[in-house]
Symmetry: C2
Subunit: 264 residues, 2 copies
């Protein structure tokens, strides 16, 4: 037994010797608490934008000290699943929140410096089709070949000028009822819509960037000459359990904008 000597009835338990160092190489209490909290988040016991119980309440519920709950929350905040507001409480992160609005769009106009508040791009949805996954999409999303998907095409404009052309693919199963009318009618970011209407939360993403040349169709939509170099951005976005739930490819016009990245 470890870390539990003074705990008469553990919710999270390491009471069994068997649990010690078998295959799972020792998980501290706060990580087990973290896992339980992620579960509560995934099961929507706590919903985006809402506050979760206070640290002392959670400590009672899980039968651990406040410090241990705090450490679990610390990591969830680092993972962008929760956010704290001193004096007010701890809240479930939401794509509605202006704070996490631009977490996934790294393109910014050349002139504005990093301190300035980001310019809100306008989204123009071109189409939204039900289709079957191609080989590439199926692999990226971990689906069976020719599984049902939803394909979206849209154009992003900064200050009226077209800058990003995107094709977005999501599994059809999770997005029942998603169509062009809904996309056009929704106020807010795409991930906000996914979260609000379909309960799908994008937690992290991986991007692959390349330089390519504009084909005729893309060039026309982006209002650049055919052959112009464009930034190709492929993204796989993941939800709970590191499950991929979106694949997209964007073509970014980088004449007056750039992709901004911080290396820590």
């Amino acid at each position: 037994m470890k870390f539990v000597l003074k705990l008469p009835s553990m919710t999270v338990s390491q009471h069994h010797e068997a649990e010690r160092n078998e295959t799972a190489s020792f998980s501290p209490l706060y990580r087990q608490i973290k896992r339980l909290m992620i579960q509560a988040l995934e099961l929507s016991e706590w919903r985006p934008g809402e506050s979760i119980p206070s640290e002392s309440e959670l400590a009672q519920r899980f039968r651990v000290s406040q410090g241990t709950v705090r450490k679990a929350i610390d990591e969830l905040v680092t993972d962008n699943l929760l956010l704290r507001r001193q004096g007010k409480g701890t809240f479930v992160a939401s794509h509605d929140d202006p704070r996490s609005q631009f977490r996934f769009l790294r393109l910014v106009p050349d002139d504005v410096d990093s301190a300035a508040l980001p310019v809100e791009p306008q989204s123009e949805f071109l189409e939204c089709l039900r289709a079957r996954a191609g080989a590439e999409t199926a692999r990226a999303l971990g689906l069976a070949a020719s599984a049902p998907i939803v394909a979206i095409r849209r154009l992003l404009r900064f200050a009226g000028k077209p800058v990003v052309l995107e094709e977005i693919y999501v599994p059809g199963e999770r997005f029942d009822g998603l169509d062009l009318a809904m996309l056009k009618g929704y106020q807010g970011s795409l991930y906000s819509l996914f979260e609000t209407r379909f309960g799908v939360r994008m937690l992290r993403a991986e991007e692959r960037l390349r330089a390519v040349t504009a084909e005729r169709a893309s060039a026309q939509l982006l209002d650049v000459p055919e052959g112009t170099p464009l930034l190709s951005v492929e993204r796989v976005a993941y939800t709970f359990g590191d499950k991929p739930v979106e694949w997209r490819r964007g073509l970014y016009s980088t004449a007056a904008h750039h992709y901004r990245n911080e290396l820590g």
Copy 2:
């Protein structure tokens, strides 16, 4: 007075009422400890690759509890200034360390997955000149116009094939004695050389990515047709005090490689 009631003689002090909430909006003890530790790092009291004193020693030195020192170290680890090895100690991060070797190069071959260990690129230095800063370089590095700088050109090869062409500019003042012979003779990354030979530590960087077309000279060196789309990566790297000490522009050939990015 706050947090110091039981501390008879503080090294870090908040004894004076004046310090309370004048302009500097309340800095907790562990941040003051952090600042002192950064100072020790900047002044090379603790050197890259070496271990720093144990947490209990530091607690004694700064007259705070181990938990407070620990929290300061936590942040320094997050900032990539220190790294912990359980059972061994806490160490000053170094660009020699394989762990932080590829922190700043995000280009990877298309085929290898993220789990695989990165392929070591080979560096071929083309030139290294002393010159005077142009307007753009001076602005990026925060130097006076026409301040002395060192300009480096190099080619990176993955598996023998040229993939990255870079121009690198550093202030001449900090890099006395840097020349082509030294670059060619050094084993290890450029930042490792900067750290080892000149005591200049790159702590973080900002990059701006764009798509451009290959000019004739660049195309020849990268062994691609003129007009090929290339990924342009501009970087400003910062050392202690957020002082910019390197500006570089790279042209990445992305036919068989891509720039990999994680969005948290």
